[in-house]
Symmetry: C2
Amino acid sequence: MKIQELADKMGLTIHTIRFYEKEGLLDDRHVRRERNNYRNYSDKAVERLKLIKKFQSIGCSLAELKGVLQDHDANTHTNQQIIDWIRSKKKEIESKKEEYDQILDTLNKMLEYRTLLMDDPQKAQEMLKAWHAGSSD
Amino acid sequence: MKIQELADKMGLTIHTIRFYEKEGLLDDRHVRRERNNYRNYSDKAVERLKLIKKFQSIGCSLAELKGVLQDHDANTHTNQQIIDWIRSKKKEIESKKEEYDQILDTLNKMLEYRTLLMDDPQKAQEMLKAWHAGSSD
DNA sequence: ATAAACTATGAAGTGAACTCTAGGGCAAGC
DNA sequence: GCTTGCCCTAGAGTTCACTTCATAGTTTAT
């Protein structure tokens, strides 16, 4: 499979694929060279890129991913270590979600205030005062 | 108030504050110069930085923020426009949250599989097969 | 008086994950 | 055999939000 074909199949650009290779996320199980020096990708490349996408989607940086994949290839870790890793990753994501919840809280308050401002400016004023008094804002 | 004092008060570095000024987020209501060319910050600077932090915390880039603050200063927008903006911002954040939910789903499945692998490798194998059959993975 | 601690400037550096460019080599159709 | 359209490389550019640096002037403490 040539690079553009793989790119289309995976929804990536050819630049990204070459970039991943340069970063050491693909090796000769995934890419070989033809006589003309064109890259020729195996089906394992597709699997690899899917794996990369999956790990990326669970919030891994490419650097972290590189470690994970190397260990994955080398079968370095015990099941318990993997479980621990998943748990810590979960915590990471959960705290990010909490951040977003706080953002939503703020936006909701803003919305409430603005909506009230259209219906009952008086009450909106009161709300603003209560807000200023109550929080660190 | 000199720059270090403001920085301490706001939990920012002096570099960041100067950077914000350079980016046009502060103007002469917030900073003036003394005879020695040192910056002198008013209380409005504190308010401004709080506002910046708030908007940043609701997921605004500095560029977006700049627009928001300029409009805020100029009183450009109607209440309805602001409400619309908040609504679109909410959607943005909500979709980010959904992404994280999907990530958590994946992590939970991974965890389930790995846990099962310790207790009952047979069943774990079945689970893996079911997974491969059922989803696009 | 001198050193330490603060202030100023403009410019360059950081890191992540691409993205694009220049300058060239192959391949397939007409 | 010429054009079009892939492919190659090395390296520079992009975005964001800072951060660091080099250099220099000012204020404060001893």
